[in-house]
């Protein structure tokens, strides 16, 4: 044991309980793989659901045993930090993963043959996202980012027999590998600047380096390269091209997962990377960009372009999955407003909106899945008069869409108020005006779906059958979408404790 200091070993052993959730999730993945090999997996669809859900719930158990999160509590040689952001997002991703597994269980798009692999991949992506939010080291961020990325390429290409699924996967893997490679090159430049991969230490060096004109150019290039990776994952302009194609080609439950999971992870990474590295201050909850690096202005522009492009392109869509893809691009634009605001208030708004968005967007995709499984298609035409054929589904869909627009009294309204307040507080009025105009534009295409469902004549008379379990799932998504619109203070309180 020469050469390895004893306190190094001890501190790493003490860090192991902190990765408990990931260890349990890995265990669940291995069990699922073994069960999938030894049992005739195509017969026991429900068993895989139960096992996967048990794994997800089990991964939450260590969370309550661990000490109270603190901003400077790092573990495993400073690779991870145990703060409220980590704690909260681990919970967030488990909820997202759980809903997606339940959604996949009821979907007819994924065959029994593929189902066991699908649960394994969903759990593995969840684990990647959990590692990503906790990581405070460039190496760990890269590894977690790629774990999440590579496995989600596979998820998109799940239905290998379908050319559309394969095409979506190809586009996703090519764009994804390209942007993450670019981000990696940015990492290597920062490593050259600071000589370390630890984010906090790099942050200190960046402040010093921004005084030096030569280093400043390097910093600007690094920021631009970082943006490539992050804007890709959050599906923002100018890296949004993949989004509609991938969302349309992927199986609907997987689309739902991509639109909330990796997107939320992208925003968490924004908070993790840009705030320690490229801001100073933090007193009184306000930050300032490192002098000479005006990334907030770039991001404000990106935010405005993202929401405008997303909303304008959504107007012409006749496929509901594509429409929701453009809507998710627009929402990335709204969420970027909170990042641009450079304040704790803005970050709280982002996290609050991500939670709301999780429920309402999963809900909208859940309805699309159920309608497709009940014999309909994803085209808006097949939603004509659906209000009389499947009243429960359509009322739920209307609630989710109204919430996505941001109408009171639904949760989306409260989330949007926080985001608007954050940019207005920072006095970026033009962005608030653009966002308000965009909300008006978005009314049109969301209401088109609502109109088709309730005001047009049905083309068929038969009722759409929805199983009891799926109805319960929808109720579980409806409850927070409605509840958080009326009684949001508890969540606001939790979120305000985070920053």
């Amino acid at each position: 044991m020469t050469g390895i200091p004893e306190n190094f070993i001890r501190s790493n052993l003490q860090g192991i309980p902190f990765v408990g959730p990931e260890i349990i999730l890995t265990g669940a993945i291995i069990i699922l793989l073994i069960v999938g090999v030894i049992l005739p997996y195509w017969r026991y669809r429900r068993m895989f659901t139960v096992l996967a859900l048990l794994g997800l719930i089990g991964s939450l158990l260590p969370l309550w045993k661990l000490p109270t999160p603190q901003p400077d509590l790092t573990y495993l040689s400073g690779l991870f930090v145990w703060d409220w952001l980590t704690f909260f997002f681990k919970l967030f991703f488990v909820v997202a993963g759980g809903f997606v597994i339940l959604l996949t269980q009821g979907s007819s798009e994924i065959d029994n043959v593929e189902y066991s692999e699908c649960t394994v991949l969903v759990l593995a992506v969840t684990m990647g996202m959990m590692l990503l939010v906790a990581a405070t080291d460039l190496l760990m961020i890269f590894l977690a980012f790629e774990t999440m990325g590579i496995l989600s390429y596979l998820l998109v290409g799940m239905r290998a027999g379908d050319v559309r699924s394969g095409e979506a996967a190809l586009k996703y893997v090519l764009y994804g590998a390209f942007t993450s490679g670019t981000m990696l090159f940015g990492f290597s430049l920062l490593f050259g600047l600071a000589g370390t991969t630890d984010l906090l230490e790099i942050g200190r060096q960046v402040v010093a380096a921004s005084q030096n004109p030569q280093d400043k150019i390097l910093l600007i290039v690094a920021v631009l390269f970082f943006l490539a990776g992050l804007l890709f994952k959050t599906a923002s302009f100018p890296f949004h091209f993949w989004c509609p194609d991938v969302y349309e080609g992927a199986p609907t439950p997987i689309t739902a997962f991509l639109s909330v999971g990796p997107k939320a992870a992208g925003f968490a990474l924004f908070i993790r990377l840009f705030y320690p590295l490229f801001t100073t201050g933090g007193e009184g909850g306000m930050y300032e960009a490192v002098s000479g690096l005006d990334w907030p202005s770039i991001l404000a522009l990106v935010s405005a372009l993202t929401m405008t492009l997303g909303n304008l392109a959504a107007i012409h869509q006749n496929n509901l999955k594509r429409l929701l893809a453009y809507s998710s691009i627009a929402h990335a634009g709204y969420l970027l407003m909170g990042i641009v605001a450079l304040s704790d208030f803005g970050l709280r708004a982002v996290v609050f909106y991500l939670v709301v968005y999780l429920f309402m967007n999963l809900g909208a995709f859940a309805v699309v899945t159920l309608v497709a499984s009940g014999g309909g298609s994803e085209e808006i035409d097949s939603y004509r008069g659906l209000g009389s054929r499947a009243p429960y589904l359509c009322v739920a869909m209307a609630v989710f869409l109204f919430s996505l627009i941001g109408l009171p009294p639904f949760a989306g309204f409260v989330g949007k108020v926080y985001l608007f307040a954050a940019v207005i507080y920072k006095k970026i009025y033009w962005l608030a005006v653009v966002a308000a105009l965009n909300t008006v534009v978005s009314l049109y295409y969301y209401l088109r779906v609502v109109k088709a469902m309730f005001l047009e004549r049905p083309t068929e008379a038969s009722q759409v059958q929805v199983s009891l379990g799926s109805q319960a799932l929808l109720l579980a998504l409806l409850f927070p979408t409605l509840g958080l619109g009326i009684y949001w203070q508890p969540l606001a309180k939790v979120v305000s404790g985070m920053f």
């Binding site: 050319v163 893997v173 290597s188 490593f191 050259g192 000589g195």
Partner: protein, 107 residues
Amino acid sequence: MSYSLPSFLIVSSLLFCLGMFTVLTRRNAIGVLMGIELILNGAGLNFVAFSRFLEPTQTANLLSGQVFTLFIIAIAAAEVAVALAIVLVLYSQMKTIDVEDFKDLRG
């Protein structure tokens, strides 16, 4: 003859630019993948060069650059394995790997 940090940085920047150019101009999916590989290797070369030539200071942990490169190689292999699998499945159905031939998803 001795090599210094700038010569390595020039090579890695060239690798990155060539990779970028390949990705943006190639229509063949495998070609695009090769471009991505060049970008990743450019980053890897950067890490190794920095960890070899930077002055050790109190806060620097230069060895992590070498470790980083090992991980980049492994991740690149995983990424290519997944991408090639997808390309192979598509080829068996469409008999082409030209990116512009995949036009089923349009809105």
